[in-house]
Symmetry: C2
Subunit: 344 residues, 2 copies
């Protein structure tokens, strides 16, 4: 029944110029790319159920994919009961994976954040969208003699470097300005074969024009977005304009749609599923955002659990304007423990 | 016949979240806003005719609206035969209006450009999108005790000032950076009631976040775009990322659609039609771009003439991918003179 409505959603969506996520690698069959705005086209799904029997959910899946911010931590503070919950799941033999759309850090840099918070997480279990960008380029055998132009921060550069790709741009272009004189012409590197766009505090017109020139003028140049999130959590004090603004700017000047590698596109899900040989129906996606996390899980054909410890509250979930219904919802991940205890 | 196909196009378009251009002023009845992407939805129109009898066109209209770049001038050079053509049209009692999506200059500043090029054009005949933004705010009686946050250059500030509106942002925020410390909070002015976004070479993350906060957090705050052009002509040497990038960034972070006051939205056409009491069927829009100028003319119910002296060539016009067909096309505006001479 749920699968049917998902298929219905797909066939209903027929926006023009939709980019297909096609990859030459057999690991990644072509998948229709989605973005958060598509949520508004989804048919109404059955309402989410309040999680009451966590054991049933735990027993029915092999892998839990956790979003980080709003689920594991908020800013720099661990959410109550997280270490004990993760320990319990590991003790039951569950595979744990941590996925984040934040591209400003690399896997290694994220690993340090987990360590600082006292969480025992392996680098291999962490999938940030910075890593996803590099993994995507690897998956399509992006030529090593081509270059990547980066609009984004350090995490993307680190992952590209680890994957052996040449890059330019990023923080190095943060202070560049265009001093206009009549006839001024901006040169660009014709060997750039991909522009990767992620969140960038040092975003400027130089980068917009450089990235636009590459995408418009270098034949076959890819436009890859780490994510299109409207909002990010630079600090806890307020919501900050997210990677969606940088991607929106390049979309506005190129009139092209990006290939999105972060949530809610299914690239990371496909990658995980292939890497670990997991059936998607045996994955549960746990997140705090409807239009990225839950949609990501649903797009991938997984079970979904919304936690109310982040940006979504019960009112937003139950609003008639919301068409994205997870399978289950609960207050926070440690409800896995308290509900179990209550059920004994 | 043409009117029918235009109406059909309107009813066919039913994208979600489409912003209605509603104005409380009786001068400006609510008009459905359009943007260049909508062009792909237009039904196929009759192919454009090559202009052969300019007198018939001239006699059938009262007003000519000219786009500037690619029609009147290219960069800093006047296009051949323009002064003589304008003189001829004036001698026949035609009203001439010059419309540009470029918001970096005010009407007054544009007037100087015309003067420098030896063209005798009155400031009142010039409609830049900087002026359109201020005129739109006037048309809706935007309160004088509210402020406008500007992402854009000097032209917008000048026009807001002339119209008596308070503003902040613009070039003054061009060097501002966000130095992140944990818990950092960006204050914003709660009296900002509109964010005007235009082309801005000094675009940065500070402006994106400030504009986004105003639109998201100030009740009823408007998001006004001078234009959404993918490309602008900062210099003749190459194409430059246009106002569409700045607008795309704010759209990406607010997930709201802008009210567009420049071409191809019909605001300026409605304004002109009301100001001068012109019937739209007696206007001919002359431009070099299909998705702004010609669509602008068609959206307004005017006759349209494409000149091939700018960004569009005959191959682009006749491509099967192009759904925007002007009524007529010709090489350049001075064909009005040469074709007349040939016809004698």
């Amino acid at each position: 029944m749920m699968l049917v409505s998902r298929v219905a959603a797909l066939s209903f969506v027929s926006l023009p110029n939709r980019t297909l996520f096609s990859s030459p690698s057999s690991l990644f069959p072509p998948v229709r790319l989605r973005n958060s705005r598509m949520a508004s086209f989804s048919p109404v799904r059955a309402s989410a159920q309040k999680l009451q029997k966590p054991d049933e959910l735990i027993d029915s899946v092999e892998t839990f994919i956790f979003d980080c911010d709003g689920v594991i931590w908020k800013g720099d503070s661990l959410i109550d009961g997280v270490p004990q919950t993760l320990d319990m799941l590991r003790s039951k033999g569950k595979r744990l994976v941590f996925v984040t759309n934040n591209s400003t850090k690399s896997r290694k840099q994220y690993g340090k954040k987990f360590e600082t918070l006292g969480l025992n997480v392996n680098e291999e279990e962490i999938f940030a969208s910075s890593f996803a960008a590099a993994a995507y380029l690897k998956s399509i055998d992006f030529p090593k003699d081509k270059k990547v132009y980066v609009i984004g921060e350090d995490g993307i550069l680190k992952e590209l470097e680890l994957a052996g790709f040449q890059y330019l741009g990023g923080p190095a272009d943060g202070d560049k300005k265009i001093e206009l004189k009549p006839g001024f012409y901006m040169e660009h590197d014709e060997n750039v074969g991909a522009v990767v766009v992620g969140f960038d505090r040092y975003f400027n017109y130089y980068k917009v024009q450089y990235g636009t020139l590459c995408i418009r003028e270098n034949p076959g140049c890819l436009f890859i977005a780490t994510n299109r999130d409207a909002v990010t959590h630079l600090t806890d004090a307020q919501e900050w304009a997210g990677g969606g603004s940088m991607v929106g700017a390049i979309r506005g000047s190129t009139q092209k749609e990006p290939l999105v590698v972060g949530k809610p596109s299914t690239f990371m899900m496909d990658y995980l599923s292939n890497k670990f040989g997991i059936l998607k129906s045996q994955i549960c996606m746990v997140g705090d955002r409807l239009d990225t996390d839950i949609l990501f899980g649903q797009n991938g054909g997984c079970k979904t659990l919304l936690v109310l410890s982040g940006v979504t509250n019960l009112q937003m979930l139950q609003s008639p304007d919301n068409n994205i219904q997870p399978d289950f919802y609960t207050n926070k991940v440690s409800d896995f423990l308290t509900l179990k205890a209550a059920a004994v």
